[in-house]
Amino acid sequence: MPAARGVTNERGKPIAMSSWLLLTVNSVTFGGLLFLLSAGFSLIFGLMRIPNLTHGSLFMLGAYIGATFVGGMLGVRFNFWLAALFAALLVAAFGAVLERFLLRQLPGQQLAQVLVTLGVSFIAADFCLMVWGGDPINVASPKGLSGFLRAGPLVVPYYRLTIIVIAVIVAIALWLLLDRTRLGAMIRAGVDDPDMARVVGIRVSRLFTIVFALGAGLAAFAGIIGGPMLSAYPGLDQDMLPLALVVVILGGTGSLLGSFVGSIIIGFIYNFGQAMLPELAYFVLFLPMLLVLLLRPQGLFGRHVP
């Protein structure tokens, strides 16, 4: 379970004011990570109309590869951020290959594509188990971010603050990319009506590869920068994938704003749920999804029902 360690699980005891604040900080942090994970998922889904079931695996691969880089490889220890960048690029390349050579073989066959991504996610999970073993690997948090920011009663670890800042920067960058650039306009056109986009001369299949690689890279990046909080362990993929699914069902597919709002909501519900109802924490995630499915099937900010 992706748990924000050391702050939750105050079973039955009254929770002090500072704990509430800490929980809030953790929720926003976790929401930021979820956004990095689900933004790519949502775009891939919106554009290619397939739920990419390897997305959890990409997150886990990022965490493991990043942990290896940070922990030192061939005697060389990488800087945390450099490691995160390399891991993201590696996994993005893997995503591009996956899209190009497997998914491309099954054009328009959504079910077949879903099953292939599912098969690949099993292979990836077993591969991680084979290479890195069954014990969780902890990732040291980046140097220089071990302190706390104190503002009145609020105590925020710099590391968590950094994650929040990164998530916001990525959100703005993605928004600029989608809303202000030519590539973004093409992606939006592809999301709204792939056939018409093709007709007007957009190479939608190349967009598929770009968006898939981008989504894979973002997921892997989230995996490594979330590493100090969640660590890398077998089953991380199966913990994260449903969260991405819930965020996207909640926020609406193909919508960046939806992913952002959905991630923050799920971040809060998850962390507060864990603090107050530890046994049912996973289950309470179900509630917003249920409400959305019943009242607004296209999601909060989605334009069409998946």
Partner: protein, 321 residues
């Protein structure tokens, strides 16, 4: 007798005589596993094959029924009551699943069932006071209906075979019934069915309940067979395994899921004896089947057979002129 009747008779004789021609008790148990997983696969096939609704959360439903049976027995209730409660809870959770996931079809259905299945898995894993968490629930003893002890491999096999036979007949009747025909209609032409005055949602809902019933039946057999249930049973891997059974054998055919169940159970039992990498193989088989034989083994080999047969019949005719 036509070839179909002969094949069915041979299959029935082979199944009835399993304990006499397999080399040992271990293989009788493998046969029992094949049978109850075949019931599970037949249940999923009702949705995947005939309804065109691919569920990736069926292991969650399977697990709910299995936990219900396990927990009731654990609390000390009798077998009949536990079985009835497990069936009711299994079907009720399928109904909830259906209400939520039938809001969409196709990819949306897959996504919602996947999320629901994962939530049930999370519940089994974390709701320790009921499910025992990672330790699961361990049971003692199988039921003894009409004084017929089920503790030996053979007796359990025959009970499973009886239930399996009933299931096949039930599914065959369902497929030929008006409801089955309507379900296939909603799979192929939902709009036209709607225009013809069929209530598409209700047809799908009833199909879901039937699928849920078969799932619950196989889950109860599973609990009695293993006398143990843990969250691993509900994992996405399990949902994928049963989907692999359906798709590898041939979705939308009566015998495809049975062949698929046999394939997956045998490969899993045999392979896990030699290597640890079962999940990797599962994934690879998945990818290979989807790319190479997307229609499944049973229809795929039938097609190959017909192709060969026709070619052989044609060859002398072409040689003449």
């Amino acid at each position: 007798m036509n070839p179909r009747a002969i094949a069915l008779t041979v299959a029935a004789v082979l199944l009835l005589s399993v304990p006499y021609w397999v080399p040992g008790v271990y293989y009788v148990n493998v046969a029992s596993q094949i049978l109850f997983f075949a019931i599970f696969a037949l249940g999923l096939n009702v949705l995947v094959g005939y309804g065109g609704l691919v569920s990736l959360g069926h292991a969650g439903l399977f697990g709910v029924a299995a936990y219900a049976a396990g927990y009731m027995l654990h609390l000390g209730y009798g077998h009949p009551l536990s079985i009835i409660v497990a069936l009711v809870i299994g079907i009720a959770s399928m109904a909830m699943f259906a209400v939520l996931s039938l809001r969409s079809t196709g990819i949306g259905f897959i996504m919602i069932t996947l999320a629901l299945g994962q939530i049930l898995w999370g519940l089994a894993y974390r709701w320790i006071s009921v499910t025992g968490g990672d330790n699961g629930i361990t049971l003692h003893g199988r039921p003894a209906p009409f004084g017929f002890e089920l503790d030996t491999a053979n007796s359990f096999y025959y009970m499973t075979l009886v239930i399996f036979a009933i299931t096949i007949i039930a599914v065959a009747i369902f497929v030929r019934s008006p409801l089955g025909a309507a379900l296939m209609g909603t799979r192929d032409q939902p709009r036209r069915m709607n225009a013809l005055g069929y209530y598409v949602w209700a047809i799908r809902f009833w199909a879901c309940l039937f699928s849920g019933l078969l799932t619950a039946v196989s889950a109860i057999l599973f609990v009695y067979y293993n006398q143990f249930i843990s969250p691993q049973t509900l994992a996405l891997t399990s949902s994928a395994e049963v989907l692999l059974m359906v798709i590898s054998g041939g979705a939308g055919t009566l015998f495809g899921p049975i062949v698929g169940a046999a394939l997956v159970v045998v490969v899993k039992n045999v392979v896990s004896g030699y290597i640890e990498r079962w999940n990797m193989l599962l994934g690879a088989i998945f990818v290979a089947i989807v790319i190479l034989m997307p229609e499944g083994l049973v229809p795929g080999s039938m097609r190959l057979w017909r192709l060969l047969w026709r070619r052989r019949a044609k060859a002398p005719a072409e040689a003449k002129p």
